[in-house]
């Protein structure tokens, strides 16, 4: 079957199998920032935004993306021009191996759009679906709080 959707602001059409996951489709189409991890909905490395909401793309039937707006990490800043959140992850040392980072960035993007002034508890809640095996979570949490302050013009 064929679906059309908007990925990172660009109109796209994909030929897909009716039982394929969104994760599979996005990786095949070259969005390699969407990582393949557990494929069971647990680890969060496959996180994308679908119509603004953070979801595990490995548990989304690709057909559901028809007509939807998808944002992957490729739709945030570029390597030459990182966005505030990405910069904060570097500044705070929130990236070690980096495998989990796209997922964290997308979860945090959804949070900050909805709630520009999150408490530490709210950040933890919003990152509850992303595993990180390196950093111990403190630094990613600090990075999101730092980015929020910066985006509010406090730093």
């Amino acid at each position: 079957m064929e679906i059309s959707c908007i990925v990172n602001g660009e109109k796209k059409q994909f030929k897909i199998e009716p039982d394929e996951t969104l994760l599979n489709i996005l990786r095949r189409e070259g969005y390699l920032g969407v990582k393949r991890g557990c494929e069971e909905g647990n680890c969060g490395v496959c996180t994308v935004l679908m119509n603004g909401r953070p979801v595990n793309s490995c548990v989304v039937f690709g057909a559901k993306a028809d007509g939807a707006e998808i944002i992957t990490v490729e739709g945030l800043g570029t390597p030459e021009n990182l966005n505030t959140l990405q910069e904060a992850f570097l500044d705070e040392g929130a990236v070690q191996c980096g495998f989990c980072t796209p997922g964290f960035l997308l979860s945090a993007t959804a949070l900050l759009k909805e709630n520009p002034e999150p408490s530490r508890e709210e950040v933890i809640e919003a990152l509850d679906s992303n595993y990180c095996r390196c950093t111990g979570y403190v630094k990613p949490i600090n990075a999101v709080l730092a980015a929020a302050r910066k985006m509010r013009g406090e730093e």
């Binding site: 969060g44 548990v59 057909a63």
Partner: protein
């Protein structure tokens, strides 16, 4: 899912039911968080019901009406869930998986099947929810009866079209999920609902899920509470009865014996909390 030939978005509820009735190889997809892992080789057609305007939460005609494709996240964000029955629906939705799965999983999908991780079931049982089943005609069935309706479960060509809760319920509900980590599958779910009239308990409801073969009300324990003046002994007796009335299961999340032990403790705690809240205190 090896044999899927088509994935369709019916335009109306009728079209959905027709597609499901047409062939025993068609299945409903709502959020898809369970279906996406299905290994059932008989399934050939997936019927997605999320584009039928069945996502809503509203108060109307004496009921709180919830559309089946409303996501758990939307329920959690809704003001009705936060305040109705002491906020039990918000408490229960908060404990469904993590925040991302909640954006996908639907209320209908969580209530429809009896898998051991569907955390909304005890809370909806404690609020005495009913389902509107549509198979060409509408028919209402209490959620408690639904789980015993094997005949319906075997049939195809129907869906849960709405979930209803009587809005004139002045009591307090309490939900508790025991799990190894905050977002792990449940070891045990207990939900309790109590009303207060004079100094006595009215309309007591206790429901268990996840640890038991089928989610269910614990009528044996409810009987002990109805019309009684509460106190530690009464709650203890009801909690013990709950434990003795339920057959529990052993799986990765706990042994049957451990779960039986938990039922008594958690039921008592939920009863104490609910009664304290009815009296404006914290337990």
């Amino acid at each position: 899912m090896k044999n899927i030939r088509s994935y369709i978005f019916p335009k109306t509820v009728e079209e959905a039911v027709d597609a499901l009735a047409l062939s025993s190889s068609a299945r409903i997809v709502a959020g898809g968080t369970t279906m996406v892992f299905s290994k059932d080789a008989r399934v050939e057609t997936l019927v997605d019901i999320t584009r039928l305007d069945l996502s809503y939460i509203k108060e109307e005609d004496g009921f709180i009406k919830i559309g089946p494709t409303t996501t758990v996240a939307d329920l959690l964000r809704s003001p009705i869930a936060a305040k109705f029955g002491g906020g039990i629906l918000a408490e229960a939705s908060k404990r469904v998986a993590g925040s991302h799965i909640r954006e996908l999983a639907t209320i209908g999908g969580d209530l429809a099947i009896t898998l051991p991780w569907c955390d909304l079931q005890p809370a909806f049982l404690a609020l005495d929810a009913e389902l509107v089943i549509y198979d060409g005609e509408e028919k209402n069935i209490s959620l408690a009866d639904y789980y015993n309706d094997r005949e319906l479960m075997k049939r195809s060509g129907w869906l849960i079209k709405e979930i209803r809760i009587l809005s004139d319920q002045k009591g307090i509900g309490v939900f508790e999920k025991v799990s190894r980590t905050k977002i792990d599958y449940s070891t045990l779910d207990i939900a309790v609902y109590l009303e207060k009239e004079g100094g006595v308990i009215r309309s007591p409801r206790i429901a268990a899920g996840c640890a038991v073969p089928m989610p269910r009300r614990i009528g044996e324990a409810e009987k002990i509470l109805d019309g009684q003046v509460p106190g530690p002994e009464l709650f203890e007796k009801a909690a013990k009865t709950a434990k003795n009335s339920l057959r529990t299961v052993t799986n990765l999340r706990g042994t049957a014996a451990y779960r039986s032990h938990l039922i008594e403790i958690v039921t008592r705690r939920c009863l104490e909390k609910a009664w304290a809240a009815l009296n404006g205190q914290e337990a």
